[in-house]
Symmetry: C2
């Protein structure tokens, strides 16, 4: 589906009409026909807010399927809400398009958003569309809800807490490399199915919505991992005034990723520790809560794996099976 061609949609009003089906389940969107949306949280609840932009060439590839682009734009925001223990509710979207898009491209983009909405339990409340030079960019602001006083903070970890991650790490960073360089798959001896899995992990992040109540019940601190484990754990440790240790041989790997690591050990460090785009949950859990946290997470179908501990001091140390510190890049992905 090509984005630009000879039959672009007919102006702003036409684009807005194309998005209107995404808003039908939310009365406060007024069918996207008013200047603002209207929203009220449930009694006794607070609103959790986040904003994240994705742009072609930075967060997705220009020729990615538009349904994947729509999915990802929403998923990266919902991932932030989930990490706070918030139930996703509504979002606003600002779309920057370098040209008026072709209708099939736009319909596919909307279909990806619609699928993500259904998966995450969130609806479109309003938005803004502009034509401007530069890459296609989608900026979403997402709102979720928590019972008052229960938002899970980033900076509340304490020494002695155990560190958990959800799902598996490194898949998306490797998937991006595979999407960019088709020949890499052969070098790593990956099957077509393994490649497809890894690329899908890059293109369609899965916010762990099932963990929302589990995080709220048991996590002392949490955040999502979007810029690589080391960098994001560094942020949690700094915000908590603590240090953190991670055991590299505890990091959870998908079978496809493990197959690639068997061929190239460096992937472990590059993609797992400092790669980005995981959109998994990083949580610090007090020792007495760990058993319940693990059990309840497993029952949601999303496994969590203990990968390290919070301690005194500062910074992040990654160590091998013998307890030796491993040299790691100081930072993960930095947008500057």
């Amino acid at each position: 589906v090509s984005r630009f061609g000879t039959s672009p949609v007919g102006g702003e009003a036409d684009i807005v009409a194309t998005f209107a089906p995404l808003a039908v389940r939310f009365p406060g969107a007024f069918g996207l026909s008013d200047d603002c949306a209207l929203y009220a949280p449930e009694p006794g609840h607070e609103i959790v807010l986040t904003t994240d932009a994705v742009a072609a060439g930075v967060h997705f590839l220009d020729d990615d399927d538009p349904s994947d682009i729509g999915w990802k734009a929403l998923a990266v925001n919902v991932s932030d809400l989930v990490a706070k223990g918030a139930r996703p509710r509504i979002y606003l979207m600002s779309l920057a398009l370098p040209e008026a898009p072709e209708r099939p491209w736009l319909l596919s983009f909307v279909a990806g958003l619609a699928e993500a909405q259904a998966a995450f339990g969130i609806v479109l409340a309003g938005g803004d569309t502009d034509r401007r030079a530069g890459p296609l960019a989608i900026t979403i602001t997402a709102l979720g809800e928590v019972p008052a006083g229960t938002m899970v903070r980033r900076g509340a970890a304490q020494p002695g807490d155990r560190l958990y991650v959800s799902g598996t790490l490194g898949d998306a960073a490797l998937g991006l490399r595979l999407a960019r360089t088709a020949s890499l798959a052969t070098g790593l001896g990956l099957t077509a199915g393994e490649v497809a899995h890894l690329v899908a992990r890059y293109r369609r992040p899965q916010p762990r919505t099932g963990l929302v109540p589990v995080l709220r019940a048991h996590a002392r601190a949490a955040m999502d991992i979007s810029d690589g484990l080391v960098k994001d754990l560094g942020r949690m440790a700094a915000a908590s005034g603590c240090g953190a240790r991670v055991a590299i041989d505890r990091l959870p790997m998908s079978p496809a990723f493990r197959a690639a690591v068997d061929r190239d050990r460096r992937l472990m460090r590059d993609a797992m520790i400092s790669g980005g785009d995981d959109y998994e949950i990083l949580a610090a859990v007090a020792p007495e809560r760990c058993r319940a946290f693990e059990d309840e997470a497993a029952r949601t179908g999303v496994g969590v794996t203990a990968v390290g501990t919070i301690g005194d001091g500062s910074g992040v140390t990654v160590h091998d099976g013998d307890g030796r510190a491993i040299s790691i890049p100081r930072d993960g992905w930095d947008h500057f």
Copy 2:
């Protein structure tokens, strides 16, 4: 103040730290150190939400003073809240920068935001920063509050309602032309003070926050005028299932704009009727409320002017002093 040079700020964390002072008055921003912000409306209130992006070359000029850019990015969003009768509360900002900015540029940008925050009564709650190709772009999502059930809708106008606009129209559209083409001022016989006034109207829109309670008390429908009176009134009429008539010789002009019109009558149509960037309020008021609406608006220091009426039928007619229809461009500014 140049934006790019040899001493850019030192990465994302440094940029976030520069913005932190904008968030000090809002505890739910957590000093910009968490992944999300936390917010709850006052009891009995609903949240009004809007999102609008501004980009260099589209909504401001690339070499505009960074404090003006910051001001305008926030003002265009607050203008939407005000039109709904909502009191501005918090905002999230997503910043797309083509290069890491110089510190003086960034500090000036933050100063413009800080000034706008103080003027509008709104505070930063969170955000996102990215480096990407393309123009500098700022996407803001702003939240305001209304007592439950009192948001002023766009589509609630009824035949017989009188149409009002706040302030004066056309200044910003002419100001943009003057900012782009310095020689135009001489052709129009404008003084330096008049030019400065008109350009400031483009660069520093003034959301009519004082009108918030007046709109809520008396307006049947309202919206802000950002894409030109004819286009935006067309939207109000369409959303209300009505038609609208406007008397061109009733449209309020600033003294500077009037001086320009004396030299070039076409400005009246081009800049006043179909120009953009006014950020004034358009309101439909039931006849029995007009007197109170005018009086209370005047007491806030922002005049409102009756410019037309809502009627049966559809579309917008602009007529002259003799009641003859004037031919107007079908649309105002369209982003596509």
